[in-house]
Subunit: 152 residues, 2 copies
DNA sequence: AAATCTAGTTCTATTTTAGAACCAGATTTG
DNA sequence: CAAATCTGGTTCTAAAATAGAACTAGATTT
């Protein structure tokens, strides 16, 4: 064989994104980070992930600029893992997955966590895709335009 | 060891979503399906995926209701893989990943594919999260409210 | 200073992945 | 219609990733 395939040079931004966060654990780690989790042991017990896996995932995400480490905010000698600007950019991807999961992966009456507006506790609105003029676009009203060849 | 951990009964919709499509290939298969790819060999050559992997991925996605098979539309005896309603629901998740990839994973001047409005070829608008009253919400203006215990 | 906690690393068994080789049935070509 | 080729797989193997247990060093608490 060879190595696991790399998508890091793909023309398609979706492929490049998946190259960074397209494995089982990364988005869950990032989800927890959005909820304020920062310490190794918090991630570990919260996710139920093996420590070795967590260790390599945190290192990879830091190397790829999604997380960064900082001295622990409680003054101890340990460190914390914090989302970078790049990492925070994944917020809507996680919201979109949440919305899909809510819509399609629960049986009637089954409870799940929800995302609310901190200001008043209301549910957030559903995500939608708009055209440049504000019309809501369905999937089949859009099209992927391939990258033109780079002209030097 | 045991098996790879299952998230299919998680309280968090993000976790359940990742249980279904949280591996390297699934979202790329689905992305291609949104662009009209339907046949085994089209997926295979387009993605450069091993046939064995593709075979199991397509079967899994079909079992989980993301894809369904149908007789080939060209009248041949082969079959096609088509997105179900559930599968089409992943559109915004892919758009969100695309947006993140575009924002963070290309060097200046590097070309990539873009998503456009089929009606006029314009770029689609950026996704944003709104509150119930239409205010745009940033990640830190939201909060996850855990599922209440099911009361029987 | 002993005990415990934190954040790992290391080790092993199992599973997954990539890719090549093979195959049967469908389709096309001569 | 027979041979060649195409389609959509399955099977096999080697390499890599994963899960989990055991171990560890340094920090913190008792």
């Amino acid at each position: 064989m060879v190595k696991r395939i790399s998508l890091s040079e793909a023309d398609c931004p979706v492929a490049r994104a998946l190259d960074v966060i397209g494995d089982w654990w990364s988005l869950l780690i990032i989800r927890d980070a959005f909820e304020g989790v920062r310490r190794f042991s918090e991630f570990q017990t919260g996710l139920g992930i093996a420590k070795g896996m967590l260790s390599t995932r945190l290192r990879d995400l830091a190397e790829r600029g999604v997380l960064e480490t900082a001295p622990a905010s409680d003054g101890s000698a340990y460190k914390e893992y914090i989302l970078t600007e790049r990492g925070r950019g994944l917020f809507l991807a996680i919201v979109a997955l949440r919305q899909w999961g809510e819509d399609h992966l629960y049986r009637a009456g089954e409870r799940h966590s929800v995302l609310v507006d901190r200001a008043n506790g209301d549910l957030v609105a559903r995500l939608e895709l708009q055209a440049s003029d504000g019309r809501v676009l369905a999937w089949n009203e859009t099209q992927v335009r391939k990258a033109e060849a780079e002209s030097g």
